[in-house]
């Protein structure tokens, strides 16, 4: 499962795309968030972070499928 990274999320992991190892594949948005915070504690220090599934904001209970486009959305700051 590949996860797209932007802004500070890219800096935290050190690349613009992160591949979740096969053994750790999260089943939901919430599991993905928990996995990331555990593996990269700096995610826990952000004001907030959201997950987008197929380029739409996804709530914690949304199920993840192998072919979804998944992205980490750290606090936005456009404008």
């Amino acid at each position: 499962m590949d996860v797209l990274l932007f802004g500070i999320a890219k800096d935290i992991i050190g690349k613009s795309e992160f591949e979740v190892p096969t053994d750790d594949i999260p089943k939901s948005v919430q599991e993905l968030k928990e996995y990331l915070i555990k593996k990269f504690p700096d995610f826990g220090k952000l004001s907030s972070f959201a997950v987008a599934v197929n380029s739409e904001y996804a709530l914690d209970d949304v199920t993840l499928n192998g072919n979804d486009e998944i992205a980490i959305i750290p606090p936005v700051s456009g404008g």
Binding site: L4, F6, G7, I8, D11, K45, L46, S47, A52, S55, E56, Y57, A71, I73, P74, P75, V76, S77, G78, G79
Partner: protein
């Protein structure tokens, strides 16, 4: 006929926006341009860098425009954001609306920029002399 212009571009030419929003049925056009400010909390900003998740950002910008056109009677709406490295005074975002009467375009214009700042996946990195900061990332 309602029209919307939704774009993410490398550079913004703010001078064209009134022509783009002009319309025989509009009596008013309200536009907000966000520009790079030299000082943030007293520290000198050398430049800003904007990054986006473009596919999602365009979707979110489109939602904002559609919502605004449902909330107010608007003739034309524009939401245009720049990405990449921007120097002081450069325009980074232009939002605007035209309408028959000015209440609608003023309220819509404010809604466009406020909502854009809340929901559109665009990230701003402030570059100071000795450090860089992703804006709003930390509490």
């Amino acid at each position: 006929m309602s029209e919307k212009i939704i774009e993410i571009v490398d550079d913004i030419d703010a001078s064209s926006v009134f022509t783009e929003l002009s319309d025989a049925h509009s009596g008013g056009i309200c536009v907000f341009v966000g520009t790079v400010r030299e000082f943030t909390q007293g520290e000198e900003v050398v430049s800003l860098e904007f990054e986006t998740y473009k596919k999602m950002a365009l979707k979110e910008m489109d939602k904002i425009a559609v919502d605004a056109m449902e909330k107010w009677k608007l003739n034309k709406v524009i939401i245009r954001h720049a990405v990449g490295l921007k120097k002081v005074e450069a325009p980074v975002v232009v939002v605007g609306a035209s309408s028959a009467h000015r209440d609608a375009c003023f309220e819509a214009c404010r809604y466009l920029i406020d909502t854009l700042k809340e929901t559109v996946p665009i990230w701003k990195k402030e570059m100071f002399e000795n450090k860089t900061v992703w804006v709003s990332a930390h509490p």
